[in-house]
Symmetry: C2
Subunit: 311 residues, 2 copies
């Protein structure tokens, strides 16, 4: 199965002690780290939906994004990345050059995070580019961050400003892997999720999984400059864009109040170097409410990207 | 990420002790079996290339095939299947019904092999159906079957007749999972690969990886009735089709001669119940040669399915 794209990719990977069998066999054989759980996530990116190839999006950016979104999922579990696999459907015409670009972006990010690219599946067809990534991580037993652990009294923080990622940041995804591992080692986090589909939509998912209500202090939501630009260009308020645009790939965390304050205070300095902000709190109940600066509350409808079918 | 297809899929999965975190989080958390390696394979199937939806190929057959080809890769490593993940790109129009069919085929096969379906990624787009499957298995350290272990003096066997799978068998794939586990437990196998792209092409890969030459006794190659039908319809000899059609998903094994004979003798009876055939031998050298009934040898060009690019 490993001709062309994957064969070339694997030929460029340095030998890795985590692989028991050299890459290129029917499947990869990984030595799981002793006494750790195996964390697995898969993502699929399709040309025309998740990216539009062109001057602003070279194939290299697609390779980067494909692995980055999966690493962001691992970060949201506080898992250490170990290995990655990539299956591609390349257009029959021009697919070889496209594949080489995808490879560059993917390998650069894999090297940055110490990920062993261990296998894949190459396909050619008459359709557009499709890239599916599988990322494997590890975490100590019982230490994975879950989305169902938020408790009333927790505060909710986000690791960076949101909104307007479509202006370019949705490609240059910076998965919060190292940050998540540092936070997990030093702070008591009750629940976590990454902002893939929208800050309010993903927070709503955390609240639904936890059986709690999220109170969002709208004045405290960190708004990215891109959200302001998108609001000026496409309408809506910057806050709307921050709450609903998605693909920010920041982390939403729920922590006990004292831990949240400690994290915010520590975040700006190394090794984190992040602008972490308290954006709200967890209460008994369900759903989301927006809390204005004067304390007035109103229902907040989770918004974000959902895959729609017309039948 | 888990809306629609994946959410529905996961809701139908019985609780599984191998999963530390309930399905539906940012990633799955698996408890790897103690003292075993983790085996990982990914495959992508695209509508129009790997299957053509229609009366002969309902969506259920696509779900079956998507998981079956990955399980066949695990079988070729003598790995026990543990978990599976599925990423789909569903056509925006009609994709929901299509997804339900895919789900049925996938879940039925997963249940048959005790595989925990543990996560995935749902996408909708204006393109055709794409399904990417990740299968996770386990194997004892140093016990995975590799393709690079064939040695001069070994015999080569195949677990069933080949050729003509395009007439329908390429959809109704029967992954040789249980058979592989039984053989691995009772016989000394030096090398293995599954017949995905073509009996001669995949045997050629085993020989190339092992640094050996394969001698194929052409009169001994088990020819499927479908290969005879395809030869009558589309030309070529039945042997050509057996050697080059691919998607048979039988296993090619290289074993010491005595082990090969013992395996062939045992195979027809339960628990194997397979028509395993010696099709040739491993020699020093490189490439493949065909050996006729009279002992005459000629070069054998590996043939099968390769993904072609036009640039």
């Amino acid at each position: 199965m490993e001709t062309d794209f994957v064969a070339r990719l694997l030929a460029r990977i340095p030998a890795d002690p985590r692989l028991e069998v050299p890459p290129g066999d029917d499947a990869a054989v990984l030595r799981p780290p002793a006494l750790r759980r195996t964390v697995v996530t898969v993502d699929m990116l399709m040309e025309g939906t998740d990216f539009v190839l062109g001057p602003d999006c070279p194939p290299r950016a697609v390779g980067h994004k494909a692995l980055a979104v999966s690493l962001s999922d691992l970060a949201a579990m506080a898992a250490r990345p170990e290995a990655a696999f990539v299956a591609v459907a390349l257009p029959r015409h021009g697919g070889d050059a496209l594949g080489r670009g995808v490879e560059e972006g993917l390998l650069a990010l894999a090297a940055e995070h110490g990920v062993a690219v261990a296998g894949g599946d190459t396909n050619a067809w008459d359709g557009p580019l499709v890239v599916s990534t599988t990322a494997i991580g590890s975490v100590a037993p019982g230490r994975a961050w879950r989305r169902d652990g938020a408790r009333p009294g927790d505060l909710v923080v986000v690791t960076g400003p949101c909104g307007g990622s479509l202006l370019g940041r949705h490609l240059a995804v910076v998965p919060r892997v190292r940050e998540a591992l540092h936070i997990a080692a030093h702070f008591d986090v009750h629940a976590a999720i990454d902002v893939s589909d929208g800050l309010s939509l993903d927070l709503g998912r955390m609240m639904a999984a936890s059986g709690t209500r999220g109170v969002v202090r709208t004045a405290a939501v960190p708004i990215h400059a891109d959200a302001v630009r998108r609001a000026a260009r496409d309408g809506g308020t910057p806050l709307d864009h921050a709450l609903g645009d998605g693909e920010d790939f920041e982390l939403i965390l729920a922590l006990p109040a004292a831990e949240a304050h400690r994290l915010v205070a520590a975040a700006a300095a190394p090794p984190l170097g992040l602008a972490i902000t308290v954006i709200g709190a967890v209460e008994e109940g369900a759903g989301l409410v927006a809390e204005a600066a004067d304390g007035g509350q109103s229902p907040l409808e989770p918004r974000g990207f959902v895959h729609a079918f017309d039948s």
